[in-house]
């Protein structure tokens, strides 16, 4: 069965703007959702990333690797985490992404070697 990555997107510093109670509520629904798709055997792993302020980017410039503070792209949205899922097709992956209780999601198929 094909695997897809759900890139979980965060809008600016949404996390920082929430009250402690709002955050607890959001995480409770996320944890329940993760538990649910884990039980169904859909979940194949994932990680939550620390805030974009903790990002460091290393990239090739004129042949040499240069280091800059911050994410690779400055935008209102950034990747806040990843999840790998195993589902029959893209439609099923989109359905899972729609049910994610967090924010926006980019779905990408995984390269099979």
């Amino acid at each position: 069965m094909p695997q897809y990555v759900l890139m979980l997107l965060e809008h600016e510093d949404w996390v920082d703007r929430q009250s402690k109670e709002d955050k607890e509520r959001a995480y409770a629904s996320i944890n329940k959702w993760v538990e649910d798709i884990t039980k169904k055997g859909i979940m194949k792993g994932g990680e939550e990333l620390q805030s974009k302020r903790t990002a460091t980017t290393v990239r090739r410039k004129n042949g040499a690797m240069s280091v800059t503070e911050g994410p690779f792209i400055e935008s209102k949205e950034h990747v806040g985490g990843f999840m790998m899922i195993e589902v029959p097709d893209l439609d099923a992956a989109i359905a899972i992404a729609k049910s994610w209780p967090g924010g926006d999601v980019e779905v990408r198929p995984i390269v099979v070697h």
Partner: protein, 116 residues
């Protein structure tokens, strides 16, 4: 030891399409890099298909919409990720500098709720 996510950044080269011999060498070097650093990798993560295969689900407006394409159109995009266990950020940066590909965004992995 701490866990770091390496977000591998593509600069638009489509390795799954028709890469030049030079790009094929980079791809082969990337395989070697994973072999060499295998002991540090706690989760191999995934290599993603090109951004033209991306679908983005938007909910910010209160209505769920599905659009073709990545969340942001740019020359650079996320091409994959792996989770590595390394002593500190300096070690992560030093290792990222040995990456044969284009670039890496390094992000510590962790729970936003921690330390509150």
């Amino acid at each position: 030891m701490s866990k770091y996510a390496f977000l591998f950044i593509d600069d638009g080269v489509d390795y799954q399409g028709t890469p030049t011999p030079e790009q094929q060498k980079v791809y082969a070097d990337i395989f070697k890099w994973f072999e060499t650093n295998g002991s540090k990798i706690t989760d191999g993560g995934a290599e993603l298909q090109p951004t033209r295969t991306a679908t983005t689900i938007r909910k910010s407006t209160g209505k769920v919409t599905v659009v073709d394409g990545p969340f942001i159109e740019a020359k650079e995009s996320v091409g994959g990720f792996s989770i590595l266990e390394l002593p500190d950020k300096a070690a992560a940066v030093a290792l990222a500098k040995t990456w044969p590909g284009y670039g890496i965004e390094i992000r510590p992995v962790g729970d936003h709720m921690e330390g509150e």
